[in-house]
């Protein structure tokens, strides 16, 4: 009965084919794709257009078209990136838990995220032998099959052996440390230094003839290979990855795909690949090549609000005593709370232009500090505003000059605690021991030649300092009479009404030099008595007036014998005797001691000592001028400075001092500081004493403890 036998055989073949088609072994899935990825089924002519998330099956052929790429996961731990115009086929050896990959054209990159022998082996068109490594790139080119393991990684070889009676699949356990051309004829191994592989590398013999030899060898034992180092360091840095997936333990069965994506894209092993993840977000392409400079990847553009640097400052102050009782209407509180939320950003318009902005939102329970009208558009207010724009300036930079205009903090001078010439920077001294630098309105031109800079700075509008109000316990204008203090700013455009600063700075003979010339209204005002008569009733008004002055100064900073030494000399003349004319001198030094402090358990001690002296050439002499700018000049005969005791990198103690010998006053500030990556804590104890002639004597009742907290985000 021939026909039934034939029928039965045909039926069996059809059944096997049917079963083979229906019961397909899933081997992996597509993690990410770009462009066109085709999957060709086995035995039929079906073509699948694959996309992210699609499953991949045993013996399926995958093809990427031009300008297309894909990242696929095979098994649990093997990730393969297919380059453009690539064709591969993967076979699952289920008995041995291996996958054999044949490449027909194009290039791939492979990474194994498990331990031990990788589970994907690759060969060229003719599968004679398969190779693998924990990380490699491979491809087919005119040179033939190219296999490029990452430097120094072991290469594994797989050879399929078929015995007479049964098919045996055996893996050669031989670990090949060096690939030489004579071992394998067919594959061409693309290794950076092929010439050195033409002869076997002979390892130096390990001779340990003497104790010294074995000591030296043992010292250098354990020089780990790059894989271990990479693993150590990658795991250290992975805590700071921005990837939202924190679960990235590669020994777990469930591989976190997000982690794989991020980790895989970081390492580029010589294949031209575009960044295909999140194509909408990233427009940059990474095209690294072996032997060339590692390119800088363009940073992804963040939203504007994410580019702003924020910091939050909180301060609590407790005063040991109530304020002086002989003052009317002073803030009686012994507990002050302050906060300030600062925001800063710098916008790069292009390589030559930028715009910088910073400001803050602040508040406090201190009385009579804030402008109750909250007129934050009053650019010359001497009171604080809850919302304050501190800096907003534009910069145009070239090789030879810079132009800036806007509102900007101007700081210069050679002193650390005190610079006589640095009197133009506006300061918010509402709380004198916690001053804040304020931006001034400027138009400036800096020109550069060699190591010298010549600056011309024009101040179209005076930015006054903010001082303690007469109702503040910090005020030095105590009076039992309530008086009005008005501000008067110069008007018009003339040398007497506008400020101009010329500055020359440079370095010569190992010394930094500074020369300045200033002309215009003094930022530190005088107080003038104004008397007006209305209906025969005199009215007394005190007016803060900004007197035209001129000053010339010279400053230097150098190092000698482990000391940094600096100094300034300033000569100031006031118009028509309306203010003092004087000469101010500052000399100072800084030294960091890090030898014997270690015996005390300290890292180092940082010491700053400065002496400020003033010689009055002619005192204020104009009638009706009640007070000169002397109230703003604290360093007529003073020693000032700090000792910072650095206990660890994060913790330090400090002692700041100001001994005012002119007016017989002393300020001592003791502090403890702790800082971590984004936060700072500071605890301070402030102590003031002295005669009633000195500010510190007036502040005797202001001894206080304060706790400050600053966080940056």
């Amino acid at each position: 009965m021939i026909i039934p036998v034939i029928f039965l055989n045909l039926k069996k073949t059809f059944a096997q084919d049917y079963l083979r088609r229906q019961v397909r072994v899933k081997i992996g899935s597509i993690i990410e794709q770009k462009g066109t990825i085709l999957g060709l089924g086995l035995g039929d002519n079906s073509i699948q257009y694959l996309k992210r998330g699609d499953s991949l099956y045993d013996k399926q052929t995958f093809i990427t078209r031009a300008n297309s790429q894909a990242i696929i996961l095979i098994g649990y731990r093997s990730v393969i990136t297919l380059g453009s115009n690539t064709k591969i086929r993967i076979k699952d050896l289920s008995n041995s838990r291996l996958y054999l990959l044949q490449i027909f054209k194009g290039s791939i990159r492979y990474e194994y995220n498990g331990a031990g022998v990788p589970d994907v082996f690759i060969s060229g068109k003719t599968p004679s032998q398969y190779y693998s490594a924990v990380q490699f790139t491979a491809g087919l080119s005119s040179q033939g099959f190219i296999f490029n393991p990452v430097e120094d990684l072991d290469v594994y070889k797989y050879k399929r052996e078929i015995s007479k009676n049964k098919k045996n699949i055996q893996i050669s356990n031989e670990k090949i440390n060096f690939l030489t051309l004579q071992n394998n004829e067919k594959p061409v191994f693309f290794i950076k230094d092929i010439k050195s592989l033409k002869k076997p590398i002979s390892l130096p013999s390990k001779k340990t003839n003497s104790n010294t030899d074995s000591d030296i060898t043992s010292i250098f034992e354990g020089t780990s290979d790059s894989v271990t180092e990479t693993t150590d360091i990658d795991s250290i840095f992975s805590d700071f990855e921005e990837s939202s997936t924190k679960k990235n333990k590669v020994d777990s069965k469930e591989i976190n795909l997000g982690y794989l994506r991020n980790k895989f894209l970081k390492n580029n092993y010589g294949i031209k690949l575009e960044k295909i993840l999140n194509p909408k977000k990233s427009k940059s392409s990474i095209t690294p090549e072996i032997g060339k400079n590692k390119p800088f990847s363009k940073e992804q553009k963040k939203p504007f609000w994410k580019e702003i640097d924020y910091n939050l400052f909180l301060k609590s102050t407790y005063y040991g005593k109530a304020p002086r009782s002989d003052i009317g209407n002073v803030d009686p509180q012994v507990f002050h709370q302050d906060f300030r939320l600062s925001m800063a950003n710098k916008i790069l318009i292009n390589s030559s232009e930028s715009l910088a902005i910073n400001g803050w939102l602040e508040g406090s329970n201190r009385k009579s500090v804030y402008d109750e009208d909250n007129n934050f558009l009053d650019l010359q207010s001497s009171q604080r505003n809850y919302l304050y724009l501190n800096e907003l300036y534009y910069t145009y930079s070239t090789q030879k000059f810079d132009i800036q205009f806007g509102k900007k903090i101007i700081k210069f001078g050679k002193g650390i605690a005190y610079s006589p010439s640095d009197a133009l920077s506006a300061i918010d001294a509402t709380v004198p021991t916690s001053p804040v630098y304020l931006g001034s309105f400027i138009i400036s031109l800096d020109t550069y030649f060699d190591d010298w800079t010549f600056s011309t700075i024009f101040f179209p509008l005076i930015t006054p300092n903010k001082s303690p109000t007469q109702n503040s316990r910090w005020s030095t204008l105590y009076s039992d009479i309530n008086f009005e203090l008005e501000q008067e700013f110069p008007t018009g455009i003339s040398p007497k009404s506008k400020q101009i600063l010329l500055k020359l700075e440079g370095t010569k003979y190992g010394t930094d030099w500074l020369f300045t010339f200033f002309n215009g209204p003094n930022s530190n005002p005088v107080v003038r008595n104004d008397i007006t008569v209305t209906n025969n009733i005199p009215k007394f008004t005190l007016v803060q007036e900004h007197i035209p002055i001129t000053f010339l100064s010279i400053g230097f900073s150098t190092t000698y014998g482990g000391f940094e030494i600096h100094g300034e000399l300033l000569n100031q003349n006031a118009e028509d005797g309306k203010d003092d004319s004087f000469t101010a001198l500052m000399i100072g030094t800084r030294k960091v001691i890090d030898t014997w402090p270690r015996h005390l358990g300290l890292n180092s001690i940082d010491i700053v000592v400065e002496h400020g002296r003033e010689y009055l050439r002619s005192a204020q002499s104009q009638p009706f001028y009640a007070l000169s700018s002397i109230g703003s000049r604290f360093y007529q005969n003073s020693w000032v400075g700090t000792f910072i005791f650095n206990v660890t990198n994060k913790f330090s103690l400090n002692y700041d001092y100001h001994f005012d010998f002119k007016n017989d006053g002393v300020a001592n500030i003791f502090g403890m500081n702790y800082s971590s990556s984004d936060t700072q804590w500071r605890f301070k104890i402030e102590n003031y004493s002295g005669s009633q002639n000195s500010n510190f004597g007036v502040w005797t009742n202001n001894d206080n403890m304060s706790l400050e907290y600053l966080i940056n985000f």
């Binding site: 950076k192 390892l203 130096p204 390990k206 030899d213 030296i216 010292i219 250098f220 020089t223 780990s224 290979d225 790059s226 180092e229 150590d232 360091i233 250290i236 840095f237 700071f240 032997g291 400079n293 590692k294 390119p295 800088f296 990847s297 640097d309 910091n311 710098k346 790069l348 910088a356 910069t395 090789q399 810079d402 700081k411 210069f412 630098y437 800096d446 550069y448 190591d451 800079t453 700075e505 370095t507 190992g510 930094d512 900073s557 190092t559 482990g562 000391f563 940094e564 800084r590 030294k591 960091v592 890090d594 990198n649 994060k650 971590s676 990556s677 984004d678 936060t679 940056n712 985000f713």
Partner: protein, 263 residues
């Protein structure tokens, strides 16, 4: 006999104890010649790990270096992260034996001159001192090649070199009595350095790995400095350019003063 003794005395000591084919100084000079670049630009991620508390701190810094001639160079490095030190920068000009250094702190808004002599101070809380970051100072050290040993898991051969400061003052300045260097024989890059303090006790160990050849010069992508049982610093190079043109503004004081380094 006398003649033999005289002849022996003229044999170089390093030949008598020779396990290296070259002297230590020759090897270090060859390394300097092979691995030097006229300009370098790097972005580094640094992680500091406290061995006791196991707490980690990360910093990101950018570093520029340019060589303007024999023993004349300028360098700049500044921090981009964390925010508490963002913008802090260190500018350095060297000319023969003279060195000018300035420090910029954004809160102070001033560029201040600092003493460049404290080489043994640790840089910004890391385990690398200022001396470590400057690289090998061949003129101020004596080098002795002790032997050749197998390294990198037996894959290659290395020179074990002992480096000692030439003078006691120099030793006090940098804080080390001696260092042992492990230098790859073929490519002449330093794989490992063991540092000994002034009392001769092992102080810390540096390891350099993931070497990449860029423009014929080898540079490590990873570095690890372990101060035993105290702290470990890991440095990873995020990006690097060698021998490329760097705008000279970068090494001018105004670059920091105008906060052009803060993006």
């Amino acid at each position: 006999m006398k003649i033999l003794a005289i002849l022996i005395s003229f044999i170089p000591l390093n030949f008598i104890h020779a396990a290296c084919e070259k002297s230590g100084l020759e090897i270090m000079k060859a390394q300097e010649k092979k691995q030097s670049a006229n300009s370098e630009e790097e972005t580094q991620d640094i992680v500091i790990l406290d061995m006791k508390s196991k707490k980690k701190e990360k910093r990101t810094l950018k570093r520029y270096l340019i060589k303007e001639g024999e023993k004349k160079s300028k360098g700049l490095l500044f921090f981009n992260d964390p925010t508490t030190i963002k913008g802090a920068g260190l500018l350095n000009w060297k000319n023969l034996d003279e060195e000018d250094q300035w420090l910029y702190i954004p809160e102070i808004k001033k560029l201040t001159r600092i003493v460049g002599g404290n080489k043994k101070n640790y840089f910004m809380g890391t385990d690398f001192t200022y001396a470590d970051l400057e690289g090998e100072d061949i003129d101020n050290n004596n080098y002795k090649c002790l032997k050749e040993i197998a390294c990198q898991n037996g894959k290659s051969s290395c020179f074990a070199i002992e480096a000692k400061p030439k003078t006691e003052e120099r030793a006090r300045n940098i804080g080390y009595m001696k260092r042992l260097l492990l230098i790859d024989k073929k490519n002449l890059y330093t794989l490992k350095i063991v540092f000994y303090n002034l009392k001769g006790k092992k102080l810390k160990t540096a390891r350099y790995s993931n070497w990449k050849q860029v423009d014929n010069v080898w540079r490590p992508d990873f570095a690890k400095m372990e101060r035993h049982n105290v702290q470990t610093t890991f440095i990873k190079i995020k990006s690097r350019k060698l021998n490329s043109k760097i705008n000279e503004i970068v090494f001018a004081k105004r670059y920091l003063q105008k906060e052009m380094h803060i993006k």
